[in-house]
């Protein structure tokens, strides 16, 4: 915090490192001195879909804001509505949600026993799913909430389109992962994993494919709260990390919100050029819900028929982690994302390691700088 009247340039300047410097030095392997970096190029909420959608959504896809409005306020018999009792009533509910029933609205949760995700608690519970490749104990209750919302379903859900669009366009979302102390990219029982927010654009080739080997600067100026130092291991070419609480930026360019995920971890198939797999954890419900509204206006959510107030009730009903000490109600819900990276050279313009909080013992929670 600075006095408004005394603000002075506070951060050391750039070192004049132009993009592409490291790329020009690329040797045979991007794993250098035990270090390799990746930049996120794709992120989608993990939604398992049966061929015709009937298994998980036997009642069909959910109504969105436009359809719900028509249900609540039918334009028939010459009835005249008031702005306060309709549009403002709906927006008031959106921005101040409750768990009170919505008797006139019917929300369709995803059914069945199959879901993409990870076993977050190491148990096989009654409400858990089985993964498409047969792994039991999958914790992904958010799939119940979002599985039958058109916004998130492939191949053309609006969210899926826009999150990719803004992944590329909006540097705010730049998500970097750097692995250090790597002896072998196939098997290594102890590697260090650091998350950063970058500040440079994604590069694509002439076919539109993301290009490995580009250089990304770390955002030490504003992105300190997104820096996390985790422990991981690589087995048979798959990186897994120990659970840690993290926040990461997620914006559809309408604001600068973020998500907060408890016990977050990744499971990524690594190659020298790319990484692909899952990230999962327990998403803080209030932050997820607020971020949804901050990113997507009611107009924008209407593209993908996303009914926020109904989702809120479903999130609270299906919440399965981190009970509030006072009320006992769960505050977080298990969730998974499918993610893709390409290899990137991460440029440490300023050695910001002093700003990175250290891991305090195996399995300990990390804390963000500045938090």
């Amino acid at each position: 915090m600075q006095s408004y009247r005394s603000v002075r340039p506070a951060v050391a300047g750039l070192l004049g490192c132009a993009l592409g410097v490291a790329t020009a030095q690329a040797a045979d392997s991007p794993l250098r001195a035990g270090t390799i970096g990746y930049v996120l190029t794709a992120k989608n909420v993990a939604i398992w879909q049966s061929p015709d959608g009937k298994v998980e959504c036997p009642e069909g896809i959910n109504d969105g804001p436009r359809e719900q409005f028509k249900t609540l306020y039918p334009m028939e018999n010459g009835v005249r509505y008031k702005f306060v009792e309709t549009q403002l009533e709906r927006e008031g509910q959106i921005w101040n949600p409750t768990t009170e029933p919505e008797p006139k609205l019917h929300f369709k949760e995803a059914q069945g026993t199959t879901a993409i995700g990870m076993n977050l608690d190491g148990k096989v519970g009654r409400n858990d799913f089985t993964s498409p490749d047969g792994e039991p104990g999958i914790d992904n209750q958010m799939y119940r909430v979002l599985g039958c919302v058109d916004n998130y379903r492939g191949p053309d859900g609006s969210y899926r389109h826009f999150i990719q669009d803004y992944m590329r366009k909006f540097n705010y979302n730049r998500f970097l992962v750097e692995l250090t102390n790597v002896d072998d990219l196939t098997n290594d029982d102890a590697v260090d994993v650091t998350l950063y927010r970058g500040k440079d654009p994604l590069m694509v080739d002439t076919l539109g494919a993301y290009t490995p080997g580009t250089t990304h600067r770390i955002d030490f100026r504003w992105g300190k709260s997104f820096i996390y130092h985790l422990r991981g291991k690589i087995k048979d070419g798959v990186l897994t990390t120990e659970p840690s609480d993290v926040t990461f930026p997620e914006s559809q360019a309408r604001g600068v919100p973020y998500l907060s995920v408890r016990a977050w971890r990744v499971k990524l198939k690594l190659t020298p050029e790319s990484a692909e797999g899952l990230m999962a954890g327990y998403t803080d419900i209030e932050r997820y819900y607020n971020s949804l509204g901050q990113n997507w206006s009611t107009h924008h959510r209407s593209y993908g028929a996303e009914p926020m107030t109904s989702e809120y009730r479903s999130m609270r009903k299906n919440a399965d982690g981190y009970p509030d000490p006072k009320t006992g109600e769960n505050t977080a819900i298990s969730m998974a994302w499918e993610i893709k990276f390409v290899q990137a050279y991460i440029l440490h313009e300023e050695r910001g390691e002093q700003a990175i909080s250290s891991v305090r013992g195996a399995g300990a929670q990390t804390e963000a700088v500045g938090e």
């Binding site: 300047g13 549009q87 500040k199 997104f226």
Partner: protein, 452 residues
């Protein structure tokens, strides 16, 4: 003509003030002296810079047509539409909601000209330069500038007030808004001025790139050596250009002419990746150049880092929020002022419950006797139950800080300095009926008037 009314320069220097200039007064933007009709003048206001004003000193505004989600609103050149019709229903311009809904406080809803009185021309008035005269449907004649009909705002009480609208760049999601109208800045053709939260930022017109100056230079002399020139590119002046006003030319190396503003040599920054960047000001000794700085907030407010830039905070660093609202009628009247219906804000901050609003978005209380040195910051008394201005000496009134004559707020979800939990909170991401943090700088999100 330059006239400062009600703003005497006692503003302390801030982080972007040119060092070669006086420390104890706000530097004001120079403007092009254009011919104008008798009875009008230019007032250099503390945030918007030079604006046209009528004989009473009231700022002039226009209402340019704006493309909204379900149609256009505003006025085309030469076609004033703001009239005495009192709209009772919304127009359905805000997707996804339909039109035909009865507007809040419909019984007392003013007409467009109740809120935006047209600037009428006398029968014998003659057009001058860009000033022309339009015929209104009611048979009267109205002044226009650059083709757009001119209005004053009932929110402006005296000379120097610009409470009806702002030139600070927002999004069309905010509705079709009125803009203050003024003369162009007096700058060489290769430059442009962009209004951002911290002032009138000087940029390169063709590229939008920010323009900087350095403490390492001296007035009229560049000390940028070869290493410096790697990162900082002199803004070259054409061979035939002549100095004028704040603008001069130095010969930074033999045969190379470089622009100087208020005597300081100007540069762009090689590493700036987007227009209107403030990133170069993070380099010690380097500063963005402004033609005019925004007036600082009253004593005690602070600047706080977020994960995307900087926001204004109170003395403890807690983020300050602005409430935005434009209604959905054809005439697009503002609903973010205490004199306008509060139903919009109450819906967003508390599901229609004023008590919940007070908990979730508390007012920023001003100390007794608190004073502002600018027009743009003030204090007012608010009735917490209605959200409207309180009656004089009302016992339960709250004495609150106001920006642009509207109260500012906290977000109860914020727990520490720099938290912006309620930014983009409300309809159309807080731009149309909702809250936005008081951004001073945003390196990513396009807030504070910057590029994205």
């Amino acid at each position: 003509m330059r006239e400062i009314v009600g703003l005497m320069g006692v503003l302390a220097a801030t982080f972007v003030m040119l060092p070669a200039e006086a420390k104890n007064k706000q530097l004001l933007e120079d403007y092009v002296r254009e011919p104008m009709p008798r009875g009008f003048k230019v007032i250099v206001t503390d945030f918007e810079g030079p604006v046209f004003a009528d004989a009473d000193g009231k700022t002039l505004y226009n209402w340019p047509i704006t493309n909204l989600r379900n149609g256009d609103a505003g006025e085309q050149k030469g076609k004033p539409t703001c009239d005495d019709h009192k709209y009772t229903e919304n127009a359905g311009l805000m997707s996804p909601y339909p039109g035909g809904l009865e507007l809040p406080e419909v019984e007392t809803r003013p007409s467009c000209i109740d809120v935006w009185p047209p600037v009428l021309a006398k029968p014998n008035a003659e057009p001058v330069g860009k000033w022309t005269i339009l015929d209104r449907k009611d048979g009267t004649k109205q002044w226009a500038y650059d083709g757009y009909a001119l209005y004053t705002s009932v929110l402006d009480r005296g000379p120097g007030d610009v409470f009806g609208g702002s030139d600070l760049r927002g999004t069309s999601e905010a509705g079709a808004q009125r803009k203050p109208v003024g003369p162009p800045p007096n700058i060489p053709p290769q430059f442009a001025v962009r209004t951002v939260a911290t002032g009138h930022l000087l940029t390169i017109g063709a590229t939008g790139r920010s323009v900087y100056y350095s403490d390492h230079d001296a007035p009229g002399k560049s000390n940028c050596d070869l290493k410096c020139l790697h990162d900082w590119l002199p803004v070259l002046a054409p061979e035939t250009v002549r100095p004028q006003g704040d603008w001069s030319i130095i010969e930074s190396s033999p045969g190379v002419k470089q622009w100087a503003f208020r005597k300081m040599p100007l540069y762009t920054r090689a590493l700036d990746a987007k227009g209107s960047s403030l990133e170069g000001s993070d380099v010690p000794g380097w500063h963005n150049a402004y033609t005019q700085l925004a007036p600082p907030p009253p004593e005690g407010f602070t600047v706080n880092d977020t994960h995307s830039g900087q926001v204004l905070g109170d003395a403890k660093g807690m983020t300050i929020y602005i409430y935005n609202c434009n209604d959905d009628a054809v005439d697009q009247l503002a609903c973010n002022h205490p004199d306008t219906p509060q139903a919009y804000r109450f819906a967003i901050c508390g599901r229609g419950d004023p008590e919940l609003c007070l908990k979730q978005f508390p007012y920023v209380i001003a100390p007794k006797g608190a004073k502002s040195n600018s027009h743009i910051w003030s204090t007012m008394d608010i009735d917490p139950k209605t959200g409207k201005k309180a009656a004089r000496n009302a016992s339960d009134a709250l004495h609150v800080w106001a920006y642009r004559d509207r109260p500012v707020y906290y977000c109860a979800r914020d727990k520490k300095p720099g938290d912006i939990e309620c930014d983009t909170w409300g309809e159309f991401n807080g731009a149309r009926n909702g809250y936005k943090a008081f951004w001073l700088r945003d390196d990513f999100g396009g807030n504070a008037g910057s590029s994205r």
